[in-house]
């Protein structure tokens, strides 16, 4: 037998074809050789027959050399379930044939599982895709929320109508209005106005920014309840330190300094008897020509906020002490001069210098009306 195999080989149609066909099966042909083989196979039926025989023999060699195992597998399905309150037990047995290669571990089961391999793959893809979409959605949501959180302004203490532009004076003939929004909380002063300065002064002055300014005539005053940007009030606390800045203009050729009084107040009562407390006050000394910047610090006492009223109705002798801690603060700006000049204000701002003291706590007590 060995002699038959080694000594009597039957030759293929030609050596070149044998080399090309076996080279193709072994995957070691160049592209040019593959083209040459394809050309020969296209044109010659005998070559095709040789190729077909060789491919089949190659496949048979693979089949023989790879161990194939056929197994009968017994499957037992034991199911316990509770249906309508009654326990139910089911036992089922089935046999499957497994065909495969024990070396590679690749087996095929007959009858196959209900889910076909390709279907299983498709389902896995769908589940994978859905999970991916879910993850992407969650990431997008997280990014969106992070961005949203980033663009939300922090809660800060801010003045309302700080540039006095909220009243539109374009159609106002005399460029002056007694309406001065947000600056007449608790009390109304007849000696303050919103003023379109350029028109009002017939071009002598212009606003520091925009068109309008606040005009404070002698004994006039502005008051505003201090609120955070989220609408909650600023409450009096020991050690609270507030800073107010702004721009002021003194009308005329004034040669002496003009004081501008700025207070932090607690309005405890308005009616029937007005009573106010003043935990902090300061004065800006204004002089010179043109717009000048001022800055005043308003620190609250650090030891005690128990104090006597600063302002009461004329003739009122009640000087009862009051602890103003936790009371709503308001800002008052006064021109306490009894005579001209008129003061113009623009672009006011406020900030908390000592932030740790500016905590917002319980609901403030309202002044008695």
């Amino acid at each position: 037998m060995k002699q038959e195999i080694t000594k009597k080989p039957e030759l293929p149609p030609d050596e070149e074809l044998a080399m090309l066909v076996d080279g193709f099966l072994d995957g070691n042909l160049s592209e040019a050789q593959r083209d040459a083989l394809e050309k020969r196979l296209l044109s010659d039926e005998r070559d095709q027959a040789y190729y077909a025989d060789r491919v089949r023999f190659h496949a048979e060699l693979q089949e023989v050399m790879q161990p194939i195992r056929v197994e009968v597998l017994q499957k037992r399905h034991l199911v316990f379930e509770r249906k309508q309150g009654l326990p139910r037990f089911m036992a089922r047995m089935s046999q499957v044939v497994r065909i495969g290669n024990p070396v590679s571990g690749s087996f095929l089961e007959l009858p196959p599982d209900l889910i076909e391999l390709s279907t299983l793959r498709r389902r896995l893809w769908i589940i994978g895709g859905a999970l991916l979409l879910l993850v992407l959605g969650l990431v997008a949501l997280a990014v969106w929320q992070a961005k949203r959180a980033a663009i939300v302004d922090p809660v800060i203490l801010a003045l309302k109508n700080e540039g006095f532009e909220q009243v539109d004076l374009i159609d106002d003939e005399d460029a002056l209005s007694y309406t001065i929004l947000n600056w007449q909380d608790f009390f109304l002063s007849r000696d303050v106005s919103t003023c379109d300065l350029a028109r009002f002064s017939q071009g002598r002055y212009t606003a520091h920014s925009g068109n309008n300014v606040a005009q404070i005539r002698p004994l006039g005053y502005l008051t505003q309840i201090l609120l955070y940007s989220d609408g909650s009030p600023l409450l009096a606390q020991k050690g609270l330190h507030i800073r107010v800045r702004g721009w002021a203009l003194i009308e005329g050729d004034n040669k002496r300094e003009v004081p501008l009084r700025i207070d932090l107040r607690v309005v405890q009562e308005v009616k029937p008897e007005m009573r106010q407390y003043e935990p902090s006050h300061a004065e800006a000394r204004l002089g010179g020509k043109g717009w000048q910047e001022f800055c005043v610090d308003l620190p609250l006492p650090t030891d005690s906020l128990v104090m006597i009223p600063s302002d009461v109705e004329p003739g009122d002798t009640n000087r009862a002490l009051l602890d103003v801690s936790g009371k709503v603060l308001n800002l008052s700006i006064h021109n306490r001069q009894t005579l001209p000049p008129v003061i113009y204000l623009d672009d006011l701002s406020i900030e908390i210098v000592s932030e740790e003291s500016a905590e917002k706590h319980s609901e403030p007590e309202s002044p008695t009306e």
Partner: protein, 201 residues
């Protein structure tokens, strides 16, 4: 799992072994047809796809489709017809997805023509697949040790050595080994032919 008797003589023992194992008649018949068709299906697929693992996958997927399509009255010939059709679709689908290197495959038209030729060779000499496989086994056993080892290195997936390592070890060029492989295949093929002729005689 039950070990089946008669592993040396697959064709004779398979049906009875599976029946003893408790497999249904439908499964037994299907398994027999599948195993009988497998080598020619492999040859058919090899004409399209060069990648060995891909051919294995296509074989398995073809088998699953066949199981779904099978009908009780099918003969082996019916099985083979449907099997080659399914295999063609699987192969074309694999080629479309994977686009192998051009030197490893023919154009789909020529591949299909050659695959059909390979499939037509089955039964052309009046030999059954199992007879051919038996003859091949005998011829392999008769191969001289070195040639047998070369065939094992090339075809046995359990063999740790590959042709490159073998060439190095034997201090030969890779192309010399391929040439030897080609000659060994030819010798084996001739041996199988001779064996089958003897059987008929």
């Amino acid at each position: 799992m039950e070990e089946l008797p008669g592993s040396g003589d697959r064709a004779v023992s398979l049906a009875s072994s599976l029946a003893v194992g408790g497999a249904s008649n439908e499964t037994v018949v299907f398994t027999e047809y599948y195993l009988e068709t497998r080598p020619s299906l492999r040859a058919y697929l090899t004409s399209f796809i060069h990648d060995h693992a891909a051919v294995e996958d296509c074989l398995q997927e073809t088998c699953l489709v066949l199981w779904k399509k099978k009908e009780a009255h099918w003969t082996l010939e019916d099985f083979r017809k449907v099997a080659f059709t399914c295999a063609r679709f699987k192969a074309l689908s694999w080629l479309k997805k994977n686009k192998p290197a051009s030197h490893l495959s023919f154009s789909p038209e020529i591949a299909q023509k050659l695959a059909l030729k390979a499939a037509e060779t089955v039964g052309a000499d009046g030999d059954t697949q199992s007879e051919r496989m038996e003859a091949l086994l005998k011829c392999l056993e008769a191969l001289p040790g070195e040639q047998r080892h070369l065939i094992e290195v090339r075809y046995d997936p359990a063999e740790s050595e590959d042709l490159v390592q073998m060439a190095k070890k034997k201090n030969r060029t890779l192309s010399a080994l391929y040439k030897q492989l080609e000659r060994t295949r030819t010798a084996l093929r001739n041996c199988v032919k001779m064996q089958l002729t003897r059987c008929k005689a």
